[in-house]
Structure formats: C-alpha cells, structure tokens
Subunit: 127 residues, 2 copies
DNA sequence: GCAGCTATATACGTCATGCATATAGTCTGA
DNA sequence: TCAGACTATATGCATGACGTATATAGCTGC
C-alpha cells in the first residue's frame, strides 16, 4: 500500500528531472561557486528550498567534473568549513549551449500540450 | 571508459523525463486508445519515433492503471493481435489537470533559464 | 514456410534519486 | 565550556525508472 494513494495524484518521478543540472551549469557560466552556494541560487529558477536534495547536487557536481564539464579546487584562506569551488570548462560551455537548444524544444513540446489541453476544454464547454 | 566521452556532450538522463506520461494522459483524454497507437501519436508532441521505448510506454500504462488513472480492457472482435485498450478515469482527468499546472511552472523555469543565458551572451558580446 | 509487421509483456543490468547518516568547522547563548 | 544550530561536503542503502534484449502471438505477402 502506498500511503499517497488516497491523498492524491501522482507518482513523483524525478521532480527536478535533470533540468537543475543545466541550471547549475548556467550559474557556473557566470562565476565560480561552491555547492552549497549553488543550491541556494537554484531558487532563482523557481526551485523550492528543499525541492532538490543537497546530496543530489553534490553528487551531480562530482559527475560533471568526471565528465570534464567543470573543474574543482578547495578554496584557500577562508573562514569556516572547506569549500570545493567549481569552475566551468570549455566543454561545459558547449554542453550548456547544447542543453539550451534542447530546452527550447522542450518548451515547444510543453506549449503544444498546453494548447491541446485548452482546446479539449473549450470543446467540452461547447457541448 | 564510457564510449560517448569523446564524441560529445551529455549523460543522457531520462530523455522523455516523464513528460511523455502526461502526453499519454492527454491523448487518452480525447479518446480511448491502445499502447501501440499512443506510441505513434506521441510524434505530435515532437517525439522522434524511437525516442521513447515501447516497453517504457507499456510499463507506464500498466502503472497508470495501478494508480487508477486509467482502466483497460481487451478489445473484442478485431483483426490482428489483441489490443489492450485504455480509457481515462475521473482520477486520471484530475491528474492531468494537476500536471498541466506543473507544466506551466516548468515552462516558466525554462524561459527564465533561456533568458538568463541570452543575457550572458549579449554581455560577452559587449566586452 | 518464412520474413516482416502489429501488439503486448517481462527479465536484467544500469543509473539517478531521496533519506539517513557521517564528517568537520564556526558561531551563539546559557 | 558545552550544547545546539548552521555551513559545507560526502557516502551507503533502498527504490524506482529506463533501455536492451527477448518472448509471445496473430496477420500479410511472397
């Protein structure tokens, strides 16, 4: 028995759906930053504070480094706990361009679906 | 070693990102249909023929039935192999409404990201 | 009979996620 | 000074979604 069954709606899926990875790349395209900072800045794109897990963000940043989209180094001479600072690479910039093109397509798809949904509703009203 | 590493770009993620599930629900909101038919009609939303796997579609349809978003029955008196025909439920219709609202938010997020990306590029040109 | 198409389904391995937990430094207040 | 809250990063574990391959079954054309 799944407890959500009665309340409502939907199996969660991936709430961020990897869109947030592009957001990270976007933020890093403006300036270097560390994980915690990036997490906070995701709110700009409309993400709720706890919508994307911190561990997910850290894990994805390390993977992006594996894939040579970013490089990282420990920030020196700073107060507080150590910060791993990330910097976007040329490869990362190309990746970002690629993703923005993908997002344009995705936007088109969403618009098509929303338009069709509106059509369905206006038809129903016409009955 | 991952072979794609040199060619280019990106870890795949979920190419459809569960958006296609909403598309299925949308199509079923217009009329009953079987899986294979739905797969073909996904092209309307811009999906390439093999972008979403048939097995993924069938699996998701069964899950949607589990979640009471659709019901299914075997179509009788038809030529060819048996067809499992799906019909949307009231719960499925509510679900669809919920998802269209989510998609509006998602669209906003994408637009925000694209706008910011354009800003970055125009700034670079101004240097 | 056999290849190719329609149509549905499942086993298997992989990958991404959320939750819980671990760590370590800093700062505030009792 | 000692506990608790906050910053900051990281990993183990269970779950869930996916693609590939494979299985099935009926129909069509050669």
């Amino acid at each position: 028995m799944k407890p959500e069954r009665n309340q409502c709606l939907v199996r969660k899926g991936n709430p961020g759906e990897r869109f947030f990875v592009v957001c990270l790349l976007m933020l890093l395209n403006e300036k270097t930053a560390h994980g915690y900072e990036l997490a906070e800045n995701l709110s700009y794109f409309g993400f709720e504070t706890d919508e994307i897990n911190l561990s997910t963000i850290y894990r994805n940043l390390r993977k992006m480094e594996e894939d040579c989209l970013v490089t990282s180094f420990w920030q020196e001479g700073e107060q507080g706990p150590q910060k791993r600072v990330y910097e976007i690479t040329d490869r990362g910039k190309k990746e970002l361009e690629f993703w923005t093109e993908m997002l344009k397509k995705r936007k088109t798809r969403i618009e098509k679906l929303l338009a069709r949904f509106d059509q369905q509703n206006t038809k129903h009203k016409g009955d």
